[in-house]
Symmetry: C2
Amino acid sequence: MAALKYSRQRESIKEYLAATCEHPTADTVYMHVKKEFPNISLGTVYRNLNLLAEIGEAVKITTPDGGDRFDGVTAPHYHFFCKECNSVLDLEIKNLEYINDIAGDGFDGIIESHNITFFGRCKNCIKKL
Amino acid sequence: MAALKYSRQRESIKEYLAATCEHPTADTVYMHVKKEFPNISLGTVYRNLNLLAEIGEAVKITTPDGGDRFDGVTAPHYHFFCKECNSVLDLEIKNLEYINDIAGDGFDGIIESHNITFFGRCKNCIKKL
DNA sequence: CTTTTTGCAAATCGTTTGCATGGAC
DNA sequence: GTCCATGCAAACGATTTGCAAAAAG
């Protein structure tokens, strides 16, 4: 595997991911990092986001609305997806690891992890109705 | 909303979805239905799969590997995603609806449903290692 | 000097859409 | 006859890739 050299662009992407809690799309990350590096390209953002996800410094969240989201918080937690405004929120729930065992009962294979996503309407969207 | 007329193509798609348990992509559905309707177009397959999902006669499964999958089984159940071969398998688990309540505790919004996907390696891929 | 990273543009992949034609009712 | 569904091809949005130049080590 590649020897990983420092890059200011990657550093900036990491900083932004660490600071935000909005689970941005690659494009949103791009727009923000562009303020510091006006010449950065979207391709570079994608390459770095994928790299960070690979080495475990970020999490890629697959959503049903096309575009993936990225999360700088790698500690295990769950997500809420608002059907109305497509926003992704964090849900703090106690350890649900035991679910892997329940699922693994009688299953012929190895379960390594699970992902739980909740769907519904967020606070703001409820107000608007 | 539209008045839904019968179509042999849609019927064939439904039949295939009901018969298979491999959670096919739209393209896989296309290849199979093409045997019966050589002139069917991929667009028609997509239109019908989305329609079936809308009216609740099929389920669209978002996967981390790009292409969505479709499931003719609409009864609630969970899925296992093999990291190695990208196959999707069914997991029969008792009712986990209570998880919605756990997550809803102290959450400012409405949780309507949840999705649990398990990741790991399937039987066949384990053998090959 | 060697290897990784970047910016850019073109390419790719899955999916959707516009439109004229054909089929259902 | 009126709508809905189809086939086809073009359009789309998100993401990836090839390549030459720039930066890191």
